[in-house]
Amino acid sequence: MAKRKAIVSTRECVACGCCMKVCPRGAISIPKGIFAEIDRELCVGCGKCVKECPASVIVLEVSES
């Protein structure tokens, strides 16, 4: 089955924290105030952060596994 995971374009991320607020799994953190980091173990690929991101720099990556 295809698995989906959110990926942040760290270069473009503005570290606003919208994704962090909306993540139902608490999988997102912005530890250094520079960009958001997604815990791939926790991420279920729901895509809420993708919709929320005001800079639209998060995408869902689909991988077969």
């Binding site: 473009e12 503005v14 570290a15 606003c16 105030g33 005001p54 800079a55």
Partner: protein
């Protein structure tokens, strides 16, 4: 989404109150300095953007207006608006306008210029605002700064509101000068920390 609400999730009320108070007494505009110093202090001491991430009432206000009230088109922000040159350019422009405002305040303090009881929207339009002025404490400069600072706060709210309508609710966060500046501070801090 079912996350328990924290006290800081209600800071949008503070931001809204701030904007409303400016219509009654311009001197309340001084309180806006908190939105200036708190993010800076957090980023300098803690090296993170906890202010943007948690406490920014303005961001929450846009999130509410665009999200719950459905005012936002929720379209992607144009590429140039999230590009580095625009974000840093806007930060520099904002800074220049800020220092011009400080200069004008100084001129009023020094008595070279008379107090102007107007709010300047989008750095261009002078909106009469005399009804919110009931005399300053000791110098007209105190009031001039309040008018100037409130102009900045109202201008950024107007800009943020327009981009909230057009793009994602919190699209202001993408080019917010405070956000860009605190991110820069964090970058600088973590570079120097990693060299230690």
């Amino acid at each position: 989404m079912n996350r328990k609400k924290n006290w800081y999730d209600y800071l949008w009320i503070v931001s809204l109150t701030y904007l409303v108070l400016g219509f009654f007494n311009i001197l309340f505009a001084w309180l806006g300095l908190l939105c200036f110093f708190i993010p800076l202090i957090i980023s300098i001491t803690k090296g993170n953007k906890a202010y943007c991430n948690r406490y920014c009432g303005r961001g929450q206000l846009f999130a509410l207006a665009g999200g719950r009230f459905g005012l936002s088109r929720k379209k992607d922000i144009p590429g140039w608006m999230k590009s580095g040159w625009f974000r840093y350019g806007f930060l520099i422009f904002f800074f220049i306008m800020f220092f011009l405002m400080l200069w004008n305040t100084w001129l009023v303090f020094a008595g070279t210029k008379n107090l102007r009881t107007a709010v300047t929207l989008l750095w261009t339009f002078k909106v009469p605002w005399h009804w919110a002025y009931h005399g300053a404490f000791f110098s007209d400069g105190v009031a001039q700064f309040a008018f100037g600072f409130y102009s900045i706060m109202l201008t950024s709210t107007v800009l943020g509101f327009v981009t909230m309508l057009l793009f994602k609710p919190r699209s202001w966060c993408v080019y917010c000068p405070m956000g860009t500046m605190t991110q820069l501070i964090c970058k600088a801090k973590h570079v120097t920390w990693s060299q230690k």
